[in-house]
Symmetry: C2
């Protein structure tokens, strides 16, 4: 009884929502196929699409998340799994989250669905802890639930799915430069001015209101980050030019995806998103840097069994 699950790439932070917001795209995404094995424990039999990821389950984010799930469920049966990676690592697109989430959803299914999607979030967060040292949820929550998700609080964990307009599309480019999540975090200031903070929470509130009142103009006006983007964008060559090109091409907004180097833009149609992506790509190519381009609707259902 083999089960395969798919989990999508995700854009965390979403301009004004540092550490609290994320959304899922339709593609790219990872698939994981799981099966019972005769002995206890978790074994990764194969990883297709990436040669650098560890096969040792304890060291692999997806393997580790599943180990934690089996422990919690006191499950004695063993699981073997095969990972298909379809997106770049370290891109700021939630690659580790997609693998963990797909693995957890498949394993939960093969075990008869003892947990809900929401209940799988903490185990996927354990995968993130292994991947980057912090058990953050802003990629795993949208990868599981789809649409935009809000992490209102970590202590206690409070994840809210935000109803997302149908006519929202995403253009993401991934320039082939390296930005480590750790560096991207270290560079941030520990203090900000009250004035900056007020601007930011005005925009966060505006973005949520824009999504829920289906007001694309308000979404566009709210997609501004006065706290994180001005600092982190220094780590991404050509960021300002790419953003200017996206806005000029009609993007509702444009900012860094997660901790970068990927850059996302939102648009009100798929053709507009394609046009925006093309213009963003051109700016990267001008600098003789290669990049991947992903254009997709927002994913509304999240991870799924195939």
């Amino acid at each position: 009884m083999q089960i395969t699950a798919y989990a999508p790439a995700t854009v965390a932070n979403v301009a004004c929502g540092f550490d609290i917001l994320g959304f899922a795209v339709e593609k790219p995404g990872d698939t994981v196929t799981v099966n019972f094995k005769k002995t206890a424990g978790v074994k990764i039999t194969k990883i297709i699409g990436n040669k650098n990821l560890p096969l040792d389950a304890v060291k692999n984010t997806a393997g580790y998340a599943v180990i934690k799930l089996l422990e919690y469920l006191n499950e004695k049966r063993g699981i073997e799994m095969e990972l298909h990676k379809n997106m770049p690592l370290g891109s700021g697109l939630g690659s580790s989250a997609a693998s963990s989430v797909a693995a957890l959803l498949a394993v939960n299914k093969i075990l008869g669905e003892p947990l809900t999607k929401e209940e799988l979030i903490p185990f996927a967060m354990e995968g993130e802890r292994l991947a980057c040292g912090a058990a953050h949820a802003d990629n795993v929550a949208p990868a599981l639930l789809g649409g935009f998700t809000l992490i209102r609080s970590y202590d206690p964990l409070d994840v809210i799915k935000i109803k997302t307009p149908k006519n929202l599309f995403s253009a993401v480019i991934h320039p082939h430069v390296e930005v480590s999540t750790e560096d991207a975090r270290k560079i941030l200031k520990k203090q900000i001015t009250l004035k900056q903070a007020i601007t930011q929470w005005g925009n966060t509130a505006g973005l949520i209101a824009g999504l829920l009142q289906e007001d694309l103009g308000l979404i566009a006006r709210s997609l501004q980050d006065v706290v994180i983007e001005p600092i982190r964008s220094l780590l991404i060559p050509g960021f300002n030019e790419v953003k200017a090109a996206a806005l000029k091409a009609g993007a509702l907004g444009c900012s860094i995806s997660g901790s970068g180097p990927s850059i996302f833009a939102l648009a009100n149609s798929i053709s507009k998103a394609q046009y925006i992506a093309k213009n963003m790509e051109n700016e990267i190519l001008k600098m003789k840097i290669k990049c991947d381009v992903f254009v997709s609707p927002i994913n509304h259902e999240g991870a799924k069994i195939l």
Copy 2:
């Protein structure tokens, strides 16, 4: 052709929404009656309910707001007006905003409604500038529009009405102690930690999502202020006891109204709001301080012509 308008009291900040959020209550509120007069200019003929407010229109917030409106409209006809103050000044309930807004709505009506309610906001803000030195909108916007309003940005001004659940009620107590808006602003720190800011924008986003998804549990969890309340509450005797009593009595949340000294709580029924108010009042009375008590549904329509 005499016109009378009513504008309600308002609660600004609303815990996590410092400088960006406010809501209107059904009562108390101020009424203003206007009429044309034979000579140009603005004349305040009478102020009922408060002996300390200036009759000189240029020095009165309502008078000044109307002067600015007439200037803008290039209106040569003169206006005389009578103010009925039904709420305490300096209470943190938007008393000056209620008078300005009622006056503006009445004058706009008598002039044939050249402007929309939204377009009156900047003139009411001029009244606030006269009252406290800052042209803030977090009282005048909900007083005009009703419900919860978000001031996403001041530059440019971007005011959004947030659809508010019907089953939301407010309990407000006004202890008879003085807190000047200026002091309440001076006491705040100019810098906050990024961690505090993230908590705050998580809660702001949660509050907006709770209102729009009609999730009272989420509203309750989001009504937390880790930035302003811990500092400003020091200026309000017994604040911690009043808040504890409100929460114990079943309030969804409780915090400072505007810059204080009034304290508001939200509840899911009018009887619950009454019970909460009684418990809040008891704590104030224990300290031998007098207080006013206001229990009311959220006002959904804002200022109106009577």
